[in-house]
């Protein structure tokens, strides 16, 4: 299982890299979905099958589809591609990569001293269900409130403004 972990890790990293460097939005989306699928495999190797399933169903299946809808709705044409090409000069990458690199270095420095191992036992759905509706019950309720708020907010923000009334024309 070790090997599976490292292979999927590699795939995830490569496809994430592709996401952030593509010019076409739909291409980037596809690469992102691949990255998420690789992540799901990683979850499974770490003994979290339910999380893996959720990753695919909700993350890749719902959230990414939402992205696809919006990108299609926006109907960005070749002009956008040209714009992206102008914006993504190689020298733009210098600052952010430096910054991210510094942070990564610090993180690895801190983590290198940690030695325990993970992924020995599988944590099943039943245990997950008991934990979720046991000690974390309040969190579940709050999450549902959050989703409700998101729903209402998205509905209102997505409304088209009402057409101008003709009274002002005179």
């Amino acid at each position: 299982m070790n090997v599976v972990f490292y292979i999927s890790a590699g795939i995830a990293v490569v496809s994430t890299l592709m996401v952030i460097t593509r010019l076409n939005a739909v291409h980037a989306l596809i690469y992102l979905i691949i990255s998420l699928l690789a992540m799901a495999v990683i979850f499974y190797t770490l003994g979290a099958p339910f999380a893996a399933a959720l990753e695919i169903i909700i993350y890749a299946g719902a959230i990414m589809v939402l992205f696809v809808f919006v990108v299609m709705m926006l109907n960005l044409g070749p002009a956008t591609l040209e714009q992206e090409r102008r914006w993504l000069r190689p020298k733009m990458w210098l600052g952010p990569s430096l910054l991210a690199g510094v942070l990564l270095a610090e993180l690895i420095y801190m983590l290198a001293r940690v030695h325990p191992s993970a992924g020995g036992k599988m944590v099943g759905t039943k245990l997950l269900g008991l934990t979720l509706f046991g000690p974390y019950l309040l969190g579940v309720e709050l999450a549902s409130l959050l989703l409700l708020a998101g729903l209402v907010g998205a509905y209102h923000l997505g409304l088209r403004p009402p057409p101008q009334s003709h009274r002002e024309g005179e």
Partner: protein
């Protein structure tokens, strides 16, 4: 002798005496604008009149059945309490303060009555009476105060009222300048006095006057540094308020105020506050003989200085101002040689005739439509007979015309004791005699130029009853009041001195000189009459000779020098005012503020720099967060 048989002890009404004028002030300050002229006059003059009536009742009680030790103390409330220091609003009545309140309320009432007619055409009628009442209340607080803190309160109060009243006609800038000058010059004295109070309090732990005197007598040996310092500082305050050398420059300019103000404040009462202070704290001064010598010398020099200046003035009120400075010099001379009762006697007599002279001058001024220049008057004795005769009585008292005027008895007492006292000297006596000569000269110069000779101006109306009555009353007092204290060679009836001996020690006379009293009295009489005669010659007979003398080179220089009050104003201007104004100008923006302005400037610069970082770009802010995270993690990891 109980005039009124009732349950209340009259002495308990003592607190009403200062309280009534204060009440008058409050009423006029709050409602004055809406009161009619007569209502304002009734409140203003009535409050002082009522205070005078209470004073009479208290005086009868005090004289008839004197309280134990001839002193009565009444505490109204404790002002403040800090540790062991608890000064009270308390009034102290003994023979000295009784004399003072008699003069203040009685002469004050007459002046208020006079002002009800004098100020009748003025717009600030009720404001005037409000200020006058506040003044009378503060002055009464000053003389009745049981402790030095309350005295200082009254002291400051009268200083404030003096400022307000000198600058009463505030629309004229010169009046405001004169008021400020008076305030600032007396402030110098007040600061010295405050330091003196601190010294007394920190050393003797009390400011209650009687306590202070006994503690000082026990704790401080005579002539040591501390009583000298304290007495010198108190003298500084007295010199400022009483317009003696070196702080005498404010009084001639204070004549810019209305004439009743000059009469009340700058003749009868406020300027004598210094005399009262020294008399009250006489124990302290006797512990510092060096300072008493200074007091006497200051008095002697000032009376001569002011005498010469008075001889050259053309403004009738300025003559009287210099005369006041000179006469207070006599009082200081008396206090300096230890003749305490003589000084207070002269104070009382001076209050009568000086107020009379000022009120008389005021009645002339008002009928001649605010003309102050004596040389534009003349021949007024036929036009204003009442004013003439009363003015003559006052002038006679001022010149100490022998035997018939009260001024003779009071001034002669001082001159005699400046020779004969253990602290006196022949030089002080000589100064007093020369001063008396000068006094009668400038006084009768004023009388002759104003009332005799060809008339240059026409009086447009005769003054009324409310002006004439105070003049007549004061004239009677100027002539008769001296008889209560006849010296040894002329009847030996020292009623007044004996009365004051319960509060002030008698003057100690050197036995060797005691016999000269009659001779010296004769010399003083001759001198005063001689002065009148000399000036008669100069002003009435040999006019052209006088003018030639005044215009000659030496005469002209002297005349201008004395006219400008010995050029003290110019001296102080060069010495004090100009450097101060220069300093104020170069520090116009206040160097100290640079530090605080600097803080604000750094703040603004920082804001300007930081506002560039608010670009509005989303990614810029995200980058900021990332940089912050990197820094923090770095700190955690590496530090």
């Amino acid at each position: 002798m109980r005039l009124v048989k009732c349950g209340v002890d009259m002495l308990e009404l003592l607190w009403l005496i200062p309280a009534l004028p204060f009440a008058g002030f409050v009423v006029l300050a709050l409602a004055g604008g809406r009161l009619s002229r007569s209502a304002a006059a009734v409140v203003g003059a009535g409050s002082v009149g009522l205070s005078a009536i209470v004073m009479v009742l208290v005086a009868f009680e005090f004289l008839g059945t004197p309280p134990p030790h001839q002193m009565y103390s009444q505490t109204i409330w404790i002002w403040l309490r800090v540790g062991s220091f608890a000064p009270a609003i308390a009034f102290y009545l003994d023979s000295l303060s009784l004399v003072m309140i008699f003069v203040i309320t009685f002469v004050g009432f007459l002046i208020h009555l006079y002002s009800t007619e004098f100020m009748i055409d003025d717009e600030g009628y009720s404001r005037f009476f409000a200020y006058m009442n506040l003044f009378v209340g503060s002055m009464l607080t000053l003389v009745l105060a049981d402790n030095l803190l309350l005295l200082y309160l009254g002291w400051e109060g009268v200083g404030l009222c003096s400022y307000l009243l000198i600058g009463f006609w505030y629309t004229e800038p010169a009046n405001g300048y004169a008021a400020r000058k008076a305030f600032v010059v007396t402030r110098v004295g007040d600061a010295a006095m405050a330091v003196g109070l601190y010294l007394l309090f920190t050393r003797l732990d009390t400011l209650q006057i009687q306590d202070l005197m006994t503690r000082a007598a026990h704790a401080w040996p005579a002539g040591s540094a501390l009583p000298v310092a304290a007495a010198l500082l108190l003298l500084g305050g007295a010199v400022g308020k009483s317009a003696q050398l070196p702080l005498q420059t404010w009084l001639p300019d204070a004549m810019a105020g209305p004439t009743p103000v000059s009469a009340l404040i700058h003749a009868a009462t406020m300027v004598t506050a210094g005399v009262y202070l020294i008399a009250r704290t006489h124990v302290l001064f006797t512990l510092a003989p060096a300072v008493m010598a200074v007091v006497a010398i200051v008095g002697a020099v000032t009376l001569l200085l002011a005498g010469f200046s008075g001889l050259t003035q053309w403004d009738i009120k300025r003559v009287l101002a210099y005369s006041t400075i000179s006469q207070i010099g006599y009082m200081f001379l008396a206090l300096g040689v230890g003749a305490w009762t003589a000084g207070i006697f002269h104070f009382m007599i001076h209050a009568f005739f000086k107020a009379l002279l000022f009120l008389g001058a005021g009645s002339i001024i008002i009928v001649l439509d605010h003309e102050h220049n004596m040389f534009k008057m003349g021949g007024l004795r036929r036009q204003l007979p009442v004013t003439f005769w009363t003015f003559l009585a006052g002038a006679g008292a001022l010149s100490a015309v022998p035997l018939i005027t009260s001024g003779f008895y009071s001034k002669d007492l001082i001159i005699w004791q400046s020779y004969a006292s253990t602290k006196g000297s022949v030089w002080l006596w000589l100064a007093g005699v020369v001063g008396a000569l000068l006094t009668s000269m400038y006084t009768f110069r004023m009388v002759f130029i104003t009332f005799f000779g060809p008339p240059h101006a026409q009086a447009d109306h005769r003054p009324g009853f409310r002006i004439n009555l105070p003049l007549v009353v004061l004239a009677v007092l100027s002539l008769a009041a001296g008889f209560i204290n006849l010296p040894a060679s002329l009847g030996n009836l020292p009623l007044f001195s004996d009365f004051l001996h319960s509060a002030l020690p008698p003057a100690s006379i050197l036995p060797a000189k005691a016999g000269y009293e009659g001779l010296l009295a004769l010399i003083s009489s001759v001198v005063s009459v001689l002065g009148i005669f000399i000036i008669y010659l100069f002003t009435m007979r040999y006019r052209r000779l006088t003018e030639k003398l005044a215009n000659s080179s030496v005469g002209g220089v002297l005349h201008r020098f004395w006219l400008a009050g010995w050029r003290f104003d110019r001296l102080y201007d060069r010495l004090v005012v100009r450097p101060y104004v220069w300093l104020a100008r170069i520090d116009k923006d206040d160097v100290v503020d640079l530090f605080f302005d600097g803080i604000a400037w750094v703040n603004r610069m920082g804001w300007r720099a930081l506002s560039f970082s608010q670009s509005g770009h989303l990614r810029w802010y995200a980058a900021g967060m990332a940089i912050g995270a990197a820094v923090f993690m770095g700190m955690v990891v590496f530090l």
